[in-house]
Structures are given as structure tokens and as C-alpha cells.
Amino acid sequence: MTEQPYILLAAYLLLTLMGGVLRAVWGPTRADRMQTAQLFGTGGAGVLILLGLAFEDTALFDIALVLALLSAVVVITFTRNVWSSGSGDDPS
């Protein structure tokens, strides 16, 4: 298994994602928290692609593909089911 500097790049991306978690923790609205979920979808795909490059394992690209396809599901559920029009929710 050849490891290359890609894994360091992946570690950095992971660090960036963890930075995004702060938004999930701070809020203040629910949309803000959901945005971190969206970030993890895109960034997670990025991490998986970088890991795939690091270990020369193209199966990891398949996982990134699945993530890319499904990253929208949760956010759509949020906008249509939880935060639908006029639900006047408590913003936190």
C-alpha cells in the first residue's frame, strides 16, 4: 500500500471539516446547522477521493460517488419536512 503526501492533504481537509462543525454547534438557526451537513457531504467526498489517491484504491471513489448522490437527501428533508413554510420554529 503506497502512501503518499495525499494522506496529509486528506488530513488537512478533515481539519477543515472539523472547523465547519463549529457552525453546527453555534447555530443559531437550524439552516446553519444543516449547512455543516452539506459541507460534510462535499468535503467528505473530497477526503475519500484523496484517500483513494493515497492508497491507489479506486473503490473509494465509488463511496465518494454515493456520498455525492445522497448529500442532498438530508438537506431536502430538512427544508421540506422540518423547516417547511410557516412552521415558525424556534430558530435554534
Binding site: 438557526t29 455525492a68 413554510s85 415558525g88
Partner: protein
Amino acid sequence: MSISAVLSYLLIGFGLVFFTAGTVGLLRFPDVFSRLHALTKADNLGLGLVVFGAILRQSELTVMLKLVLIWLLVLIASATTCYLVAESARRNPDVKESRNDAA
């Protein structure tokens, strides 16, 4: 190191810069809408550069196409979710929009 490797690192490095910009925007911008903007635009570009860098190291065409497909799907999903979240946030009475009335 081969030329493709160097180019790959370079592109991915730039991609990570954009990812960083996206996250910093997510953390520092004042309201939901501008954060949304930072997130979707910067991260899409970031992922695009990462994908481009990854393609340079691949030998099979199918894998390269798969990578491009991942990026396209993320673009479509981001655009849709960005619109939907912004629309929902607009209609929600509790969301405050910070205005920069420079005009």
C-alpha cells in the same frame, strides 16, 4: 516526481485553499444567506480542483469519468440545496438577514 504528480499536488492544493475559504466563510459571515453562498461556491470549486488533480493520476478512462461525475453531481446537488435552503430561510420569520446598505 513526474510532471503529472506535481501538477496534481498543485491543483489539489489550490482546491484545499478553496475548501478553507468555504469553511472560513461558513464561520465568519454574518447570516445564513452569505454563509450559504460561501459554502456552495467555494466548496464546489474546491472539489472541482481536487477532482481535476485526481484525474491526472488515473490511468483508466472509466475512473476519470467517474471522478468528473462525482463533481457534476455535487454541483447539481449544491445548487439545488442552496436554493431550497435560501427559499426556506426567506420564508421563515425567525431568520434575520444582515444588510450591508453600502448604496
